[in-house]
């Protein structure tokens, strides 16, 4: 009778060994496919960590399931009084205020709308899982990057022949590997809930597609944030993650919107794109969300891989900015076409949209200080070497990676004006011209800011970025204060003064208060001219400084320049 015991333990050991060999082979294949992913998994997924996360994930799901079951039990329970009962997951008719009447199936039990119950379970489970990924996943990515930057190991990875695409992909999947494992453990319940909620396989895949696109965008934004923070003392990752969570809640509200149609929560909001109510057509909304998020992700991806390969380059090439401006504007035009009367001022909302766009381009296209200094000092050599003419100097300003961004910003503004032109001309009266002036003003204002930032960045101070941000802030707030001051003195033309000083800043209060066309064509034109003059003046100041810094040491000495800006 003693014989079977060693046999059994022997077979157990054999099975364990087989499992280990299988696991090793699988990991080996994974490593062949993406070495970075394997490295992250090996670094994060120790046996202890995996057991802890698995236990936590299963326990949380059990608690969530019990909680949801209790909701169903409460819905089904018939109270002792005989008045009609309205409950969320009941099956009866809706009353005038969208409440749902409960129907009895026995003396003690109401019928429960199980598909709705499952659908809502699916929604909240998905929301929690995504929230977890947004909060903890982005945090893991930022920490991972900060750690590599602090140790100085990124340079080694860059030196290998492995492509930056595969390395970043490995990081995206592997750095938050433990969170991904927890989410993976919740997928069976998530899938079951989706199918029971009558989403169907197609609907489930569509929702998961949106979720993947959303989390990819958040992850890439996290990596982007981590890679732009030069500090080696560790980045404020939690601040980013919490901010991410805030934006996620906004997105969640938008995602919840289509469910308003099936859930008894009141009327759904309306969102039109080229005349189509996209909230009423969840498939179109999901498709649009995937398309927009994917486009954003592709742009971020290109920027990240570019900066990974060349850390001293700009975030985006000028060519990319032109294409993205084109796409972004075409997409935005859809929301304002056809224009519905009674909406907020078209010039206000378009100007604000483009002002934000220009601000992004200003940050993404501004070459780093060293790149600018080297461009100013050595561009003549490249010109001589390639026997370049004035025409190719223009080419350098339009397409070159190291040249200042002024012309590219101007081109982006011109593309935007050209795209909105047919839309603007469809308005009668001065509204259309105001829209174009608004775009023009935003472009010129941001050109002014870009010149100012470049000028400050080339100062010989210890923290040029802090100086640039500070001075920009002072200029923006100062001009608003000046505009308000002048406005209060001449209250009949309050918004006019405001607009004159800082067109961009005046847009937001205008949107909020929904003032009906307070700006005259003359005021907008004057603002356009003032901004243009200021931008040109600042441009010459910045370029003069750049030319001076680009002098050779001997030329600078001969000119009596102390080589300090």
């Amino acid at each position: 009778m003693k014989l079977p015991i060693p046999l059994r333990s022997g077979s157990l050991q054999k099975a364990q060994r087989t499992l280990q060999i299988m696991g090793d082979r699988w990991l080996d294949r994974l490593g062949d496919w993406n070495p970075q992913l394997l490295r992250e998994i090996k670094g994060n997924c120790t046996q202890r960590n995996l057991i802890l996360v698995s236990l936590a994930a299963v326990a949380t799901q059990v608690i969530f399931w019990i909680f949801w079951q209790n909701i169903a039990a409460e819905i089904a329970t018939v109270p002792s009084n005989s008045e009609p009962v309205y409950r969320f997951y009941c099956t009866g008719l809706r009353d005038g205020v969208n409440r749902i009447l409960c129907e009895r199936i026995s003396a003690t039990t109401f019928a429960v709308n199980w598909p709705l119950w499952w659908l809502d379970l699916f929604f909240w489970l998905s929301a929690i899982l995504l929230g977890l990924l947004v909060l903890v996943g982005t945090q893991a990515l930022i920490n991972n990057w900060a750690q590599e930057a602090k140790q100085g190991t990124l340079a080694f990875i860059r030196m290998t022949p492995e492509s930056s695409d595969r390395i970043l992909f490995g990081k995206l999947l592997g750095a938050p590997a433990l969170v991904h494992w927890a989410v993976l453990l919740a997928l069976p319940l998530h899938t079951l809930a989706g199918l029971q909620g009558r989403l169907g396989l197609g609907g489930l895949l569509l929702v998961d597609g949106v979720a993947i696109a959303l989390i990819t965008t958040f992850y890439l934004l996290a990596l982007f944030y981590a890679s732009t923070t030069q500090s080696k003392q560790g980045v404020s990752g939690w601040a980013f993650s919490l901010l991410g969570l805030f934006f996620y809640f906004l997105v969640l509200w938008l995602v919840r919107a289509p469910m308003f149609l099936v859930l008894p929560l009141g009327s759904a909001p309306q969102l039109n794109w080229f005349g189509q109510d996209v909230i009423a057509q969840p498939e179109i909304l999901a498709g649009m969300a995937i398309a927009v998020l994917s486009s954003l992700s592709i742009a971020l991806w290109q920027s990240l891989t570019r900066r990974f390969d060349q850390p001293d380059s700009t975030f985006s090439t000028k060519a990319q900015s032109y294409w993205l401006t084109l796409g972004l504007n075409l997409f935005a035009i859809g929301f304002f076409t056809p224009w519905r009367q009674g909406q907020i001022n078209p010039w206000g909302v378009v100007g604000l949209f483009w002002g934000i766009g220009m601000m992004v381009w200003m940050a993404l296209l501004l070459p780093p200080r060293q790149t600018l200094l080297d461009w100013a000092r050595y561009r003549h050599l490249h010109k001589t070497q390639n026997a370049r003419s004035g025409r190719s100097a223009l080419k350098d300003w339009l397409w070159g990676d190291n040249s200042p961004s002024f012309l590219a910003l101007l081109v982006n503004g011109a593309i935007t004006i050209a795209l909105w032109l047919p839309w603007a001309l469809s308005f009668h009266g001065p509204t259309g011209v105001l829209v174009l002036l608004s775009i023009g003003c935003a472009t010129l204002l941001l050109l002014l800011y870009a010149a100012l930032v470049q000028w400050v960045l080339l100062w010989n101070v210890r923290q040029p970025i802090a100086w640039a941000v500070g001075l920009l802030g002072i200029v923006m707030i100062g001009s608003i204060a000046l505009g308000m001051g002048l406005g209060f003195q001449d209250s009949a033309h309050f918004w006019g003064w405001f607009w004159l000083m800082t067109p961009l800043a005046s847009l937001l209060p205008t949107l909020i208060s929904e003032v009906a066309n307070p700006i005259t064509l003359g005021a907008a034109g004057l603002a356009f001219a003032i901004n243009g003059l200021a931008a040109i003046a600042m441009f010459f100041v910045a370029m003069n400084q750049l030319d001076r810094l680009g002098l050779s040491e001997s030329a600078a000495l001969m000119q009596g320049d102390r080589l300090e800006p």
Binding site: G43, Q151, F156, T160, E162, Q310
Partner: protein, 314 residues
């Protein structure tokens, strides 16, 4: 001839300061080239540019005749270069095997070839018994050897080592020198920057001196010795020190001498080759002076470096 490394007018500016200023460097294949110079002379920046970690402001770099384009770093070029910086950072969350396995895969090694290579390099750096140890538990010397293993995992033909022995104890330095000799015998071209000039004197076949961001001297080691080093003869006798001094005084090849009566030693600054040295020795033996020590000595690399006077940072 295709140089293993060739630079033309290589410069790097940080802000408006030139850290490396128009360096024209040539290193022959298979050479061990030592780069010396004071702190801040531009050695690390030069090595980082050669390793493609840093982009030059202006100038060209050729590795094996292939130009480095920093915007389009070709995989073939990356396969040829191994770079070990002075702080040799490692991943503390991995063990020794996994760390090398990761980098081996990044360099395109797979399957059997990867495993063989891992065993080879671990054996070479004598870390095979530590293959399953977490990196966090290794000593500084071991981490440095592990980093060297990472640097050579993909069998580069050019090895760039920046201050590789800084902070190591004498035994670890000795082991490191032995490793470099093995790698050189395998045909690798090695560029080492170091402040430990005695190590460089033992390892290098050529030396470059950097000062103020410029390469102010670059020559085979023997040329430097021939040009700057004085030859000293150390002669020790049991007695008859006066007779020994008389012979030395009479010899026209002797430039100067120093007598140490307490240990019966005379240090002679001598102008002549090996045959002249043998002549002098024969003369001393004929005069029946009881010689117990007669050897040629030359100034160390450190003394030559100090004599050259290139000690300014950039």
């Amino acid at each position: 001839m295709d140089w293993a490394i060739e630079t033309r007018g290589l410069s790097k500016r940080f802000d408006r300061k030139l850290a490396v200023d128009g360096v024209d460097l040539q290193i022959a294949p298979g050479e061990v080239y030592g780069l010396i110079g004071p702190n801040g002379a531009g050695k690390t920046t030069l090595i980082r540019m050669l390793a493609t970690v840093e982009k030059p402001t202006i100038g060209e770099i050729f590795i094996d005749g292939i130009p480095i384009d920093h915007c389009d770093r070709r995989a073939t070029l990356k396969q040829r270069i191994g770079f070990l910086p002075d702080d040799f950072p490692v991943y503390d969350d991995l063990n020794v095997w996994d760390y090398l396995d990761y980098f081996g895969r990044l360099y395109g090694l797979r399957g059997k070839r990867l495993r063989e290579r891992l065993f080879d390099v671990l054996d070479l750096v004598q870390l095979l018994p530590k293959r399953d140890s977490p990196i966090a538990t290794l000593s500084r010397g071991m981490k440095q050897r592990l980093s060297l293993a990472r640097t050579i995992i993909h069998e580069p033909i050019l090895l760039l080592l920046d201050e590789p022995v800084s902070g190591l104890d004498p035994i670890a330095r000795l082991e490191f020198r032995n490793l470099i000799r093995i790698l050189q015998s395998a045909g690798m071209t090695v560029l080492i920057s170091s402040h430990v000039l005695s190590d460089l004197a033992e390892l290098c076949s050529a030396i470059g001196v950097m000062e103020l961001g410029q390469l102010v001297a670059s020559a085979p080691l023997e040329h430097l010795y021939a040009q700057f080093s004085r030859q000293t003869l150390v002669i020790t006798t049991l007695d008859r020190l006066e007779d020994l001094q008389a012979i030395v005084r009479a010899d026209r090849r002797v430039i100067s001498w120093e007598c140490h009566p307490t240990n019966g030693q005379v240090l002679v600054e001598f102008q002549g080759d090996k045959t002249d040295c043998a002549d002098l020795l024969q003369e001393l033996i004929r005069a029946q002076i009881p010689i117990v020590e007669f050897r040629r000595d030359r100034e160390s690399l450190e003394q030559i470096f100090l004599k050259m006077g290139h000690q300014q940072a950039s």
